[in-house]
Subunit: 246 residues, 2 copies
């Protein structure tokens, strides 16, 4: 069997998430399977680096799949893109070693979250960011971000539905930058993320920035590991899976 890895970009607005769902839900994986199985004329199993939620976008999702066929990469990419819908594109495809698995081989995942801090929402950014009209204090958000960096038990900062034994994760980096047009860009890099973890962390950071939460309470929540202390979850539309490191 030949093993291939591909980099995929998608606008999450029109999808019920990445993962195939029961019923007639439109998913990224479902669309990719439909097209890959047509191009490869046979059943395919797709591994993927990040299971993005409904409404979450990706600039560089990574998938891998095996096939008995030897692919002409240029033609394969061209054929797949001509059949994929307008909101998914295959950016890159290459042959990889037999042991590569887009999920298991991933060492780091980086997500970005976009916040417009202004009195109006840009028509170009409204599908890809959230609007916060009030003051957001950068110093308080950076303090909050600092408590997340490092190795912690993220039980308080993931969906209450998570029942994994291991809720320890390592945040390598959490940066906050001001961009053009009153955009604030949050970039969070970790070995991996628990379900809803980025969106609940972002909720806490924004609460701190608005002065609604003492940043130190984040440190305390991480130490206590009590469910629900993350408190708020931000909307999916501002979130992008930006990079996967192997």
């Amino acid at each position: 069997m030949n093993n291939y890895m591909a980099v995929v970009e998608y606008d999450g607005s029109g999808f019920c998430g990445f993962q195939v769902q029961p019923g007639n839900m439109r998913t990224v994986q479902g669309e990719l399977l439909r097209v890959l199985e047509k191009v490869l004329s046979g059943k395919v199993k797709i591994c993927y680096a990040g299971r993005t939620d409904a409404g979450v976008h990706a600039t560089n999702q990574v998938i891998s799949f095996k096939t008995g066929k030897e692919l002409d990469l240029y033609r394969f990419k061209w054929s797949a893109n001509s059949m994929l819908p307008d909101d998914i594109v295959l950016k890159e495809i290459k042959k990889t070693g037999p042991g590569f698995d887009a999920r298991r081989s991933a060492r780091q995942r980086e997500y970005c979250y976009y916040v417009v801090n202004d009195s109006y929402q840009s028509v170009f950014l409204k599908k890809y960011s959230i609007l916060i009209t009030g003051t957001l204090r950068m110093d308080l958000m950076k303090e909050a971000a600092g408590y997340f960096t490092g190795v912690h038990d993220f039980s308080s900062f993931c969906s209450p539905s998570v029942v994994k034994r291991n809720t320890i994760r390592q945040i390598y980096d959490l940066s906050i930058e001001k961009g053009d047009r009153n955009l604030i860009i949050f970039r969070i890099c970790a070995n991996s993320f628990l379900y809803n973890m980025v969106r609940i962390m972002m909720g806490a950071i924004l609460e701190a920035g608005r002065g609604e939460r003492d940043p130190v309470s984040i440190k305390e929540a991480l130490l206590s590991g009590e469910k629900g202390l993350g408190r708020k979850m931000v909307p999916a539309k501002g979130l992008f899976l930006n990079r996967v490191v192997y």
Copy 2:
């Protein structure tokens, strides 16, 4: 009468251009009139800096209008934005002197054009740029751009329908930069533009970049002033009215 100027952003994809058209065509001016006349409870005349074509976007279109009312600017902006459709937003509004006219007072207009030079089109940029998969030589495009800079008769580089007596325009600056994601950004600043002028100039620059036209032929076309020598017009969707200087 009080005179107001406002900065407007719009996604041109869903409009038959800025200017009100006969019939049931959806236009930016039409939507603005509908909302301003409702908020001001009376007829309004809107002046505007750039008459963008169907499909052309604007990040900073400028309009002006007169009214007998003294506006509470914060409330006016909030009301107008709550009634405007999803693809238009009022970014800024302020009171201005009685002589100000968004069109006549404008000294410079800057347009940007976005080209993705890659093997695929990004799902996020496809409504806002054109894709060119072949080689585009920066040196040839910069040479072409150089011939446009300065004061010229743009008869060869505007719509054949233009019958103005004065077709002399001054290009203050025409820069070409590489951005992220294989994006090339063209920025063109002039005192004003003839109908279709930016899109025909861009057509000539891209032809030069592809090696389909000797850049020197642009200089010759400008000197001859013969209609049609501009040859090609690029699609509207990559074009943005970016800035108006007063």
